[in-house]
């Protein structure tokens, strides 16, 4: 039986129910409520951890023809389009892409009018101030502002709630079942919006695409994205797009928490490092391109190595060239000492590093230019930023 807390939620016939309290869900809810709909937002996380991966976001990319208060210079539709085509290698729904890119001009204004604040256009660690607007305080601050606005216009939120069933009638949703406050509730709605994230926190599901390697993955996003709503939708005949092994996979510190490590767990050292796998072998060109363009391939690369682990060995010159890490680096005065601390074969490691160093040209390095400096005659050739101080 519904109690005092659950009764008002159950008895209402909602115009819209939104599943997922992240940025997409809350913005959809606000848009609906501003057009006069009654809206309920359901989040599976407790309030302190609400909003899925929005908590971990930091900025958005928005086209603009003139400098704004939060973006410098201009980022034209054409430049944005070219960037999108380059990173997707042209595998893009062009109509959807055009709608999204043109719509992005309104973004900072739309969010700003609803209480979201941006950093002034001067800063930005990756020098992205002409393309990206940074939320003041990051994604959680933005989410707090949006939720505050949403509540002020009458939107209801429930947290710690799990959707177990979606009732579809002729392709339309009329009601859903939710576990909340220790009760199974049947909620009526005229329309349903699902924005409940992916399944990256369900390692068994990931294993369907990745095999056993998935067991060793650390999920740096929210632990609440277990794909439960996706599963319900698939069971109801929804069509799947994409592939099970497609995801944003970056190299993160092996000492990071199993879930939720976020941005602070990333490894920025790769271009300045010799990266070894468990067998003390190098496996990819660490300095292939500028780091901001390349960091996202390293998750997949490490996932392909034995036990899904790798070791970035950095010399004393390299240490100061990248963002500091949450976890203190393991240090030693010799390659053998260092690699035995890491549990690698010291002799093999020494041999790999020696042959790397022997192939390095002399002279200073400049991390701001692709200088063409490279190791000579190695299996995994390293371009740029090679340094032989070790």
């Amino acid at each position: 039986m519904p109690n005092e807390i659950t009764k008002p939620i159950v008895e209402k016939s909602w115009d819209i129910i939104v599943i997922g309290g992240g940025n997409a869900g809350v913005c959809a809810a606000i848009t609906a409520a501003e057009r006069g709909c009654s809206v309920l937002v359901i989040d599976s996380a407790p309030r302190d951890m609400r909003g899925g991966n929005t908590r971990h976001t930091r900025n958005l990319r928005a086209m603009h023809d003139e400098p704004t208060d939060v973006l410098t210079d201009r980022y034209s539709f054409e430049e944005y389009w070219e960037d999108l085509m380059r990173v997707t290698k042209g595998v893009t729904n062009e109509h959807l892409a055009e709608v999204t890119l043109r719509g992005s001009q309104e973004l900072t204004h739309w969010l700003g009018a609803r209480g979201v604040r941006f950093q002034s256009a001067l800063s930005g660690t990756l020098n992205l101030s002409h393309t990206n607007a940074f939320f003041l305080g990051g994604g959680r601050a933005m989410l707090n502002a949006l939720c505050r606005h949403a509540e002020s216009i009458g939107i209801t939120f429930i947290y710690d709630a799990e959707v177990t069933n979606i009732e579809l009638e002729n392709g339309f949703c009329e009601a859903i079942d939710v576990e909340w406050q220790g009760q199974s509730l049947h909620l009526n709605c005229k329309q349903l919006i699902t924005a409940a994230g992916g399944f990256e926190a369900d390692l068994d599901w990931l294993a369907e695409g990745w095999g056993d390697a998935a067991k060793n993955f650390l999920v740096r996003g929210t632990p609440y994205n277990k794909g439960k709503v996706l599963r319900v939708l698939l069971d109801r005949g929804a069509q799947m797009v994409g592939a099970l092994d497609q995801c944003h996979a970056v190299a993160i510190d092996a000492r990071a928490p199993k879930y939720d490590g976020g941005i602070a767990s990333r490894i920025d050292a790769v271009p300045f490092a010799v990266v070894l796998n468990k067998n003390a072998e190098r496996f990819y060109d660490e300095g292939e391109d500028f780091w901001p363009k390349r960091y996202a391939i390293w998750g997949r690369l490490v996932a392909g190595q034995p036990d899904q682990i790798a070791y970035a060995i950095i010399d004393s010159d390299g240490v100061k060239r990248f963002m500091p890490s949450v976890f203190t680096a393991i240090t030693d005065n010799s390659i053998e000492g260092l690699t035995s601390q890491l549990g690698l074969d010291p002799k093999a490691a020494k041999k790999t590093v020696d042959s790397f160093n022997a192939a390095c040209p002399d002279g200073p390095i400049d991390q701001m230019v692709l200088d063409g400096r490279a190791t000579n005659g190695l299996n995994a050739r390293k371009n740029q930023l090679v340094s032989a101080n070790q």
Partner: protein, 385 residues
């Protein structure tokens, strides 16, 4: 013996001034923050953090005194509890900052007294002085004490001007020396560098507008989001009340200074007319000081429990309450100065004022000193980087 000799004679260890637990927590948290940096737009703490890769105890003293404890970074934090990183920057910095006040205080033995029981000590000292002054005056000449005195020099018929001025002169000498010693300790401990006049100008601007207590470094005093009251709201009340307090204090200070100039420069004795400069400055200053301190008291209580540092509250309340009484009794004196209550009110006001100034180097007042020093250092770092 120079002041520097005194510092050495003090024998304090620059590497272990702060409580290791408080400093250790700041270092742990800063190492996480420095790998995230989402909060860089809130205030001066985070840009100062990004200019460092490692943090020693001096950095802790510096960063702790740059922080205003607004709480914006806590409510924005993706690593705040219940996350296993358990990041709470305002709380960690508040603990270290509170500890730093006694670590930098001179003479050191007195600092411990105020660390634990600020409210009691402050009010005790003020009340004690008020009673002493009152009793002395009442016993020496009761008929004068309860009499009605009008016109120039009225106050000094109860207490001779030399006496009234000699006490604060002695107290302010002590206070100034104590401030200089504290400042020097802070400066050396944090390894701050003097970068020149522009840094000073920037620090004055930051203090005048309380730039870093708005939740957004680039916003004005009324356009900023203000201090969060949770993850669901924020308010500029604290920033406004703080500035009322600060400007009220400065106006009262100006009133006293102008009065001194009248006295020695033009040979004109207090009390002055209601529309003369010292009284106008003092009245306006006193009223906004009363409003500011009362408001700050309420705002302190409303601070979100997660960011409020309870151990430091005694010191905060002591300062706010005694400052309130300084201004309130001053206004009261103005109101009753032509009645037979002038004597007793004067005694109370002087006692409260003397008490307030005597404990100044061990009260929350020093936050302004170290904050200002930190702002100078931060302006210099920002300019050089």
């Amino acid at each position: 013996m120079s002041l520097t000799d005194n510092i050495e004679a003090d024998g304090f260890d620059l590497k272990a001034l702060l409580d290791p637990e408080a400093a250790g927590e700041v270092i742990r948290v800063m190492q996480i923050c420095n790998a995230c940096r989402y909060c860089e737009g809130f205030c001066a703490v985070f840009p100062a953090m990004t200019r460092r890769r490692q943090f020693d105890e001096g950095d802790v003293g510096y960063l702790a005194n740059l922080c205003h404890n607004c709480g914006a970074c806590y409510h924005a934090c993706q690593y705040a509890p219940p996350h296993e990183f358990g990041v709470n920057v305002p709380q960690a910095l508040a603990a270290a900052r509170n500890d730093s006040y006694s670590a930098y205080a001179w003479p050191a033995p007195l600092a411990g007294l105020f660390r634990c029981n600020g409210l009691f000590v402050t009010l005790g000292v003020s009340a004690g002085l008020a009673i002493t002054v009152g009793l002395m005056l009442a016993m020496i000449a009761p008929q004068l004490f309860w009499g009605i005195h009008l016109g120039e020099g009225a106050f000094y018929r109860i207490m001779p001007h030399t006496m009234m001025a000699a006490v604060p002169l002695a107290i302010s000498t002590f206070v100034v020396v104590s401030f200089i010693m504290g400042w020097r300790r802070y400066w050396r401990h944090t390894g701050a560098k003097w970068g020149g006049f522009p840094d000073l100008v920037d620090a004055v601007k930051a203090s005048a507008t309380l730039r870093h207590l708005g939740g957004d470094t680039s916003s004005g005093i009324l356009s900023g989001p203000g201090c969060p009251t949770g993850d669901d709201g924020s308010s500029n009340a604290r920033r406004i009340y703080h500035q009322l307090t600060m400007y009220g204090f400065l106006l009262c200070f100006a009133a006293t200074s102008v009065g001194t100039i009248y006295h020695y420069g033009f040979g004109r004795e207090a009390p002055y007319g209601y529309f003369e400069l010292p009284v106008v400055l003092g009245t306006v200053g006193g009223i906004i000081l009363c409003i500011g301190t009362a408001g700050l008291f309420v705002e302190k209580r409303r601070l979100h429990p997660a960011v409020r540092h309870d151990e430091g509250l005694g010191m905060d309340y002591a300062f706010i309450v005694s400052l309130f009484f300084v201004s309130f009794t001053g206004l009261l004196l103005l109101a009753v100065r032509e009645t037979s209550f002038m004597g007793v009110t004067l005694a109370i006001h002087l006692g409260v004022v003397y008490g307030f100034f005597l404990i100044l180097p061990f009260s929350k007042f020093v936050h302004g000193l170290y904050r200002f020093a930190a702002l100078i250092a931060s302006a210099g770092e920002a300019r050089r980087s």
